[in-house]
Symmetry: C2
Subunit: 315 residues, 2 copies
């Protein structure tokens, strides 16, 4: 089995219990939930039995422990999670508005995971990567951009593969050097996993068909275009496939794209046939939204397979 490594943020998420705007008065909240897009990706991959590690840092506090405990329990290699003695674990407060948009209060950049310190454990984990997953949300500083680019180059250099989920917050793309870094990552990418309008965000072409050809021209071998409730498209040089989403009751969409991506990537690395991989990824995305909390909706392969069969047999 090929080992996936991802570099990026580990956070706790604190969720408002009620819909509404922002955090300007005391309201009912629930947390801490383990979170951070790359951590959710790693957790979902590990739940499928894929060897997986995350390079990150948490504070020496309960919010760090809640994350390490969860990741370790689910089988993630946590040896490259540094425990920072000075900075706190990152956090994100999230409140949904009635229209589905979200208000946040973040503590990420100046939290433990916002600072990179190469340790022997980090080095060792990076060297064991067969596959490197780049999460766009983690390209948060020149140091992290450099580490992602260098690691992607090293993994490719030794015959490994790279996947890339742009997972963009708009404010991140506008930071200096970010667009250039994104394009460099694209050039190293084998498997590209954009959501919605991210498909054309980094291409010259604004038309989907032309954008896909442009991405293939950069060396990308496969594209999975995640469109949430509108289903998912798969494209490579030989074929294109579409799978509609499963209909579920949405409790909390956070983390669904990461569970989808980790499932597709893990199965793609094992050589599962593409149709099956796509359908199980769609199943992982659907299951993820049924649970409150960003990492709570990661399930094992058996559960995803059973869910898929159940859904396909439903009247």
């Amino acid at each position: 089995m090929k080992k996936i490594v991802v570099v990026g943020e580990i956070l706790v998420e604190i969720m408002a219990d009620s819909e509404g705007q922002g955090f300007r008065e005391p309201i009912a909240l629930t947390g801490p939930f383990p979170s951070g897009a790359p951590a959710i990706f790693a957790d979902q991959a590990a739940r499928l039995g894929q060897p997986c590690a995350i390079v990150s840092a948490v504070g020496n506090d309960d919010f760090g422990r809640v994350n390490i405990d969860r990741l370790e329990r689910d089988g993630v290699d946590v040896s490259a999670i540094r425990i920072d003695q000075d900075r706190p674990t990152g956090s994100a407060f999230v409140r949904y508005r009635s229209d589905g948009s979200r208000d946040f209060v973040f503590n990420i950049r100046h939290s433990a995971c916002g600072y990179l310190e190469m340790t022997d454990s980090t080095q060792r984990v990076l060297e064991t990567a067969d596959h490197f997953h780049v999460m766009g949300s983690s390209l948060s500083s020149p140091e992290f951009i450099a580490l992602n680019v260098e690691t992607a180059e090293a993994v490719k250099g030794r015959g490994g593969t790279v996947s890339f989920d742009p997972n963009l917050r708009k404010e991140i793309l506008d930071t200096p050097g970010m667009r250039k870094a994104m394009v460099r990552i694209l050039q190293l990418t084998d498997l590209f996993l954009p959501s919605d309008e991210e498909l054309t965000l980094l291409t010259e072409a604004s038309d989907h068909g032309a954008a896909i050809q442009e991405l293939f021209g950069l060396g990308i071998k496969a594209i999975v275009h995640k469109n949430g409730v509108k289903g998912a498209h798969y494209y490579d040089a030989a074929q294109s496939l579409f799978r509609p989403a499963f209909v579920v009751e949405e409790v909390d969409p956070t983390g669904a794209g990461d569970c989808f991506g980790a499932t597709f990537t893990s199965l793609w690395l094992r050589g599962t046939n593409i149709e099956e991989a796509l359908e199980l990824a769609v199943a992982a995305g659907a299951k993820a939204v049924t649970k409150r909390g960003p990492m709570e909706g990661a399930f094992d392969l058996q559960t995803l397979q059973a869910f898929k069969l159940e859904q396909r047999e439903a009247p």
Copy 2:
């Protein structure tokens, strides 16, 4: 009316709804409550009509706004609260254990209020101080220690006064330079406001009577020893007084010492007779514990006076 200035942390507090240990699984929480010992002190002083300013910083986020809104509404001069565009507002997660002790997860040192940047507004506010209050919890870095010592010296130099609440977390006293800074602050202090064992924490003497003489020897003019439910003692060269606590139902003790201190300090600055000032300070402490949230228990003078009368008349 004399203007009080305080330098130090502004935080939000997020409170666990249930008693228990720590934050290692998702639990029900309530927040954000405006908080930070010096901010509570400033808010209580302002509610009594005392001119008061705080020198601090918050992030450009809802947690900053919830604090500035509250302080401004209650009459605190907020012109020296810097809005940091990069760092988040500080936070403290608090959970009570069944024995009354507390577990915390802090984000303070690397939050907006952990960094000092002198601005024209800060300078202006510091120069208008008739009275400077030093909060021990705010002596969190060499820069903040230096600013507190310099400001205390400047205020004393122009004929103003200084109060000092050691408000110690044990880990803070052990940081390099801290004990020396505490002693220097003591030498500049007119009104000393220790709680419980803090009375003898900085003195050679371990006996209360000897400690009080030692503190007078440093130049301190008045000592108010806060002992929570055990009442409060006042000492100066001419007299000593004791006031028992009022009996109330304790909902949340956080902030009670700050409300007590702000009330006594404000009334002392106005020349209110000591017995009345001490009794109203005890009333402020009692009222503070009846409200959930660290700053929620700050009341105006009329309310404290009415409460005091009511309590003294109770059978």
